[in-house]
């Protein structure tokens, strides 16, 4: 009986199973096409009806392999490829609905040092879903499956593929190995150009190879090769970006503004490349968080420091030597990074000066101290403290002594020094898998001090007089912002902050001490306080074929009894085209509340930072730009146009020396301006060759009441044609050669239209009469620089020896013009030039 029951049960089960199998079986066939079509095929073959919302299947495609022969397998493919979950209602009906996905949040790290990698591309395999790691190395991806295979790409690291299990609120760390540590690298089994297409990566030169004048390790040197960017000129500090003045660039060091970014009259920047993790130049639609500059944002981030072992880097060059150390304080938890650099021309030339003129000497030197401490509190929180202290100093002295009736000694001493001090803390916190919160507090100060002293000493009598002039500003900035992943397509950013400014425009003090009297006076000391507060929102929507970012910053600025409220909108549209092409459009509005008082000299750091006033309203700009990018496997091109409309641009009205003027406002006039241009860039890498070239055609015009009879004129930053060509050839893994040729049209200067003689006291003095400003254009600037680099990896350390030549063909590039006499003693306009052909030598060692 029992046996009969078992056999019966088996037969029933077999029949039932057979019936079920026959109902759910699918014909083995491949299919690629619309999901709706495939659902129809399933219905025909299995008699199962699907129900779903109409728009659910819109633009959904599926690819089914021949091995998929059951309804269950088909439903699994649908879930995987189309992110649609199902629910069976009875035997013949299935309801489809969207899969509820999860956000995974991860961090991309350097496997050797555990430092964060910025702008790595993270792509879900076999899909077009990609994202970029942010400046903290963090990324977010929306996943609808329980595990996901990702490809992580960065040009300086070995490409990796890895599978991540998707768990709610879990954070993943992806470690990439630097290419420099690999003997033989074949990274591009995947098309990197295709991967980086949506990475918002523009066509930029490699940033870690180019050497500045004298072999200096300058992290900003490669930025000058980007189209639309050029030096003001030798001896004049700062960068001109799209025809704007240097003060229209906001340079950030770990989010903290730095007000003076160059050393030695603009020869090289304050950013020692050994300490820099990344540099990002925004000149189109920069983040609304930073919309308080008109031309650009240069976002520099320092290295966090190696969290596993201590690393040393030292270099010695013609102009300076530096050392950089970073390593763990608590392994994998707390790290530091410190670098120091000093120029030493003053020390080495001192003996020469003493030999030539023992009674007088002058010294010009500069230094940098960069430091950062990074604390990885836990997986979701990290805190960093960044600091910078640097400056330049020009000292001169004379010393005369006589022994006539009495012993008599006269000393004069003078100095001109400027200092930057920056200190700030940043806290990044991941809240769940959707929110990244940034909180920052910082201090930044810039100070110029000019002083002179005179001492006359006799046996029983001493006279001492000194005077000093101090100018500077300080700002304390605090704020927070949050990136919120609203859904799979939208990232929303909001934030607010406040800045307190303290300006010291004209502070003068005098001391006079004699044997009979002693006085110490501050004659003019005026401080200006200003406050800026701002709130901003920005949303970035990722579409199937691009993205759109739009945002608004509202800034309120208080200057004394004057308050300004400005709205700064931004729209940035990215449209991917077929075959690795991309189009970008942007329109932005920015305002600037703090500016360099435009002195007639072009950028010695004696320039004065001041806020807007009641009469001098905030400068503003509206910028329109468009860009086309094409990326192939070994080459890429970029072409862009821009147009900028300026309002309330400041110009210098008369020739009064601003340093001595209390009524500095009266010497300035307000005008409007326009800049426009075409920018082209191309990069190619073929076998051992690498190349980058950029070309910019741009014009920068101004119009100001009372200047040049109210006619339009070209600004002093107008350089119509700028060309940069970089070529690299690698002979073998140790030895390569780099050549950079840079060309820029000459910029307009103001040359007098006549001369005459006047009488001052009893003396005849030649005076020059000026007509229109910027009435003469200097000759173009161009130079070819070549560097041979030998890199050697030893067992315990690596070394790089660089030997190069700056200005190979000895072009006399303009520094200044003046009226001198020719061979016939006739007056001639003459050009003075510095930096002829010069060797470049640098030796670096990394341990």
């Amino acid at each position: 009986m029992q046996r009969s029951i078992v056999i019966f049960t088996f037969l029933v089960a077999s029949v039932a199973y057979g019936q079920k199998q026959s109902v759910n079986a699918l014909n083995p066939q491949e299919f690629t096409g619309r999901l709706s079509t495939y659902l129809d095929i399933i219905t025909v073959q299995t008699d199962v009806q699907f129900s779903f919302k109409n728009k659910l299947l819109k633009k959904k495609y599926i690819s089914i392999p021949r091995t998929c022969t059951s309804l269950a397998a088909a439903l699994a493919e649908i879930k995987s490829q189309c992110a649609l979950e199902h629910n069976r209602i009875g035997a013949k009906s299935i309801t489809l609905y969207p899969v509820k996905g999860k956000f995974i949040i991860g961090t991309v790290l350097n496997s050797e040092s555990s430092e964060r990698i910025v702008e790595a591309v993270i792509q879900i395999a076999k899909t077009n879903t990609r994202t970029l790691s942010d400046k903290d190395g963090n990324f977010r991806l929306y996943c609808t499956t329980d595990s996901v295979e990702v490809i992580v790409y960065h040009p300086n690291y070995q490409l990796i593929k890895t599978i991540i299990g998707v768990t709610k609120n879990a954070q993943f760390f992806i470690r990439m190995r630097p290419i420099g540590f690999l003997k033989e690298v074949k990274v591009l089994s995947v098309d990197s150009a295709k991967i980086s297409m949506q990475a918002f990566e523009e066509v930029n030169p490699k940033g870690n190879q180019i050497i500045a004048v004298g072999g200096e390790s300058d992290a900003l040197v490669h930025v000058k090769l980007i189209p639309g960017v050029h030096n003001v000129s030798f001896g004049q500090q700062g960068l001109t970006i799209r025809g704007g003045s240097p003060d229209q660039n906001l340079t950030l060091l770990d989010g903290i503004p730095v007000y003076n970014t160059y050393h030695l009259l603009g020869l090289f920047s304050i950013f020692n490349a050994a300490s820099i993790n990344s540099i990002k130049l925004h000149k189109d639609a920069f983040p609304v968080k930073y919309s308080n500059r008109l031309s650009s944002v240069i976002d520099v981030s320092l290295k966090d420091g190696n969290k596993r072992k201590t690393k040393w880097e030292a270099d010695i060059g013609i102009l300076s030597s530096g050392i950089s150390v970073n390593g763990p304080i608590i392994k994998n938890k707390l790290s530091y990074s410190v670098s120091a650099r000093r120029t030493y021309a003053d020390l080495l030339t001192l003996p020469l000066q003493n030999a030539i003129s023992p009674n007088s000497s002058s010294r010009l030197w500069s230094y940098d101290l960069l430091g950062k401490i990074h604390w990885q509190v836990n997986d979701n929180n990290d805190i960093s403290i960044s600091g910078y202290n640097g400056g330049d100093q020009l000292d001169f002295r004379t010393n005369l002594s006589f022994d006539k009736i009495n012993v008599f000694e006269e000393n004069t001493k003078g100095s001109l020094g400027w200092r930057n001090q920056v200190l700030g803390a940043n806290w990044t916190s991941l809240i769940g898998s959707r929110v990244e919160l940034h909180t920052g507090l910082s201090f930044s100060g810039y100070k110029l001090r000019f002083s002179d002293a005179y001492r006359l000493s006799e046996e029983d009598n001493t006279i001492f007089n000194s005077s000093s002039y101090t100018n500077g500003l300080q700002e304390i900035r605090g704020g927070f912002d949050a990136d919120i992943q609203l859904n799979s397509r939208n990232v929303f950013t909001l934030g607010l902050g406040a800045v307190e400014y303290l300006f010291l425009p004209f502070e003068r003090s005098y001391t006079s001490i004699t044997s009979a009297t002693s006085t110490d006076t501050s004659l003019v000391s005026k401080q200006l306080f200003s406050r800026e507060s701002f709130v901003f929102v920005e949303n970035k929507t990722y579409l199937n074929s691009g993205n759109i970012a739009y945002g608004l910053r509202i800034s309120a600025f208080n200057a004394g009894e004057t308050n300004y409220l400005r709205f700064q909108p931004k729209i940035h549209l990215v449209q991917n085209l077929r075959k690795r092409q991309q189009l970008r459009f942007s329109i932005t509005g920015s305002n600037q509340f703090v500016h360099l008082v435009p002195n007639n000299n072009l950028g010695l750091p004696i320039d004065i930072w001041l806020p807007v006033t009641e009469r001098l309203k905030p400068m503003g700009v509206t910028q329109l730009s468009a860009k086309y990018i094409f990326k192939a496997k070994n080459w890429e091109i970029e072409s862009g146009i821009f147009s900028k409309f300026y309002a309330n641009i400041l110009e210098h009205e008369s020739g009064t020396q601003l340093l001595s003027e209390e009524n500095w406002e009266d010497n300035l006039t307000v005008g409007s301006g326009r800049s426009y241009g075409l920018e082209l860039a191309s990069k190619v890498e073929i076998n051992k060759w690498g190349g980058y070239c950029s070309y910019t055609f741009s014009r920068s015009q101004r119009n100001a009441a009372g200047i040049n009879n109210n006619r339009d004129y070209f600004s002093k930053f107008d350089r119509p044609n700028v060309i940069n060509i970089l070529a690299e050839y690698r002979f073998n893994k140790d030895f390569k050669v780099l050549a950079v040729w840079s060309y820029a049209s000459g910029n307009p200067i103001t040359v007098p239209v006549s001369r005459y003689v006047t009488i001052i006291g009893d003396q005849d003095v030649i005076v020059e009469e000026y007509g229109d400003i910027n009435n003469y254009r200097l000759p173009s600037t161009h130079h070819l620089d070549i560097a041979f680099m030998h890199e050697k990896q030893y067992k315990k350390f690596a070394s790089i020896f660089t030997f190069g030549v700056y200005n190979v063909y000895n072009r006399l590039n303009p520094f200044m013009a003046f009226i001198g006499l020719d061979d016939n003693a006739e007056p001639q306009l003459k050009l003075r030039s510095y930096l002829p052909v010069l060797p470049t030598i640098k030796y670096s060692i990394k341990i």
Binding site: L348, G655, I749, S754, R755, T758, G761, Q828, K830, L838
Partner: protein, 291 residues
């Protein structure tokens, strides 16, 4: 190694020069007025013209007659054609303190110029406290009593003496380069700590009060061949605002264009359609025996 380094540095900072092409289509010659008129003498005004940037300027580039009109307090004082003598124009009027004058000059095809200025209200009140021998230098202490209105001053020092020319002995004078580190100069940033023959300052910090000023000049600076210094001549001028501004503008007129040292220092002066200055001063001259 150090020698190589020094050579490199020297190479880097050694400037090279070359000539530039420069057409000057903007150039239009203008009358240049050097009219610094004292209340103690009749107006003696230099008239010249400007030259193109690449020509050699001079204060004696005009000859012939010019038409001159002078108004005092908006009333016609003088109108005539006068001949230039060595580019100088002698106009027969003596300025009166506190009065307002207007000058109009025209010459051939050059644009007619017009200039106005007001004579300072008073003469500077100056007393000399001491002129002492300090071994290698002299120290001169003077006091200026400032009036309540805003005043601007200029100081000149000269020394006079006998110069032997063969058998003859003639009286001759030279300007003295002097120094001072007095705050009176520093307050107007016209420091003369590095030596000057002219100091310009205002009463910004001591308006309406008496002020003591110390000047120092080196003995070696008044030693000329065959010359015996006898007197120091202290010349303190109360200058008009136009004159003060003009002096400062000229002082700032650098001769560099482009580059970080350039400064478009426009010398405005007070001459409409022309260049230079037409302005007034009162002066107090004190002669002191060298100790």
């Amino acid at each position: 190694m150090r020698l190589i380094y020094l050579c490199l540095i020297a190479l880097a900072i050694s400037g090279c020069e070359k000539e530039l092409q420069f057409d000057n289509p903007e150039f239009q010659p203008k009358l240049v007025v050097n009219g610094f008129v004292s209340t103690d003498s009749i107006a003696n005004i230099g008239i010249s013209r400007s030259t193109s940037t690449l020509s050699q300027p001079s204060k004696m580039l005009l000859a012939g007659k010019v038409k001159v009109v002078v108004l005092k307090d908006k009333l016609l004082l003088y109108s005539d054609s006068l001949a230039l003598q060595n580019s100088m124009l002698k106009i027969p009027f003596k300025p009166i303190m506190g009065s307002h004058y207007e000058l109009q000059v025209s010459h051939n095809d050059l644009p007619t110029i017009r200039a106005t200025d007001t004579v300072p209200l008073s003469k500077p009140s100056v007393t000399v406290s001491a002129l002492t021998d300090e071994g290698t230098s002299y120290r001169l202490v003077l006091k200026i009593r400032d009036q309540m209105e805003i005043n601007r001053y200029a100081i000149n020092l000269n020394f006079r003496g006998k110069e032997q020319q063969g058998a003859d002995s003639i009286s001759k004078g030279y300007p003295i380069t002097f120094t001072s580190s007095d705050k009176i100069f520093l307050s107007s940033i016209k420091t003369i700590a590095t030596g000057s023959q002219l100091a310009i300052f205002n009463d910004e910090t001591w308006n309406g009060t008496e002020r003591s000023i110390e000047l120092i000049f080196d003995k070696s600076l008044i030693q000329y061949p065959d010359f015996t210094p006898e007197l120091v001549v202290l010349d303190v001028k109360a200058i008009s605002k136009a004159m003060y501004d003009y002096y400062i503008e000229v002082n700032n007129n650098t001769h560099v264009y482009g580059g970080p040292l350039a400064s478009v220092s426009r010398v405005v002066g007070n001459i409409d359609n022309g260049l230079g200055a037409f302005c007034f001063y009162t002066e107090s001259v004190t002669q002191l025996q060298l100790p």
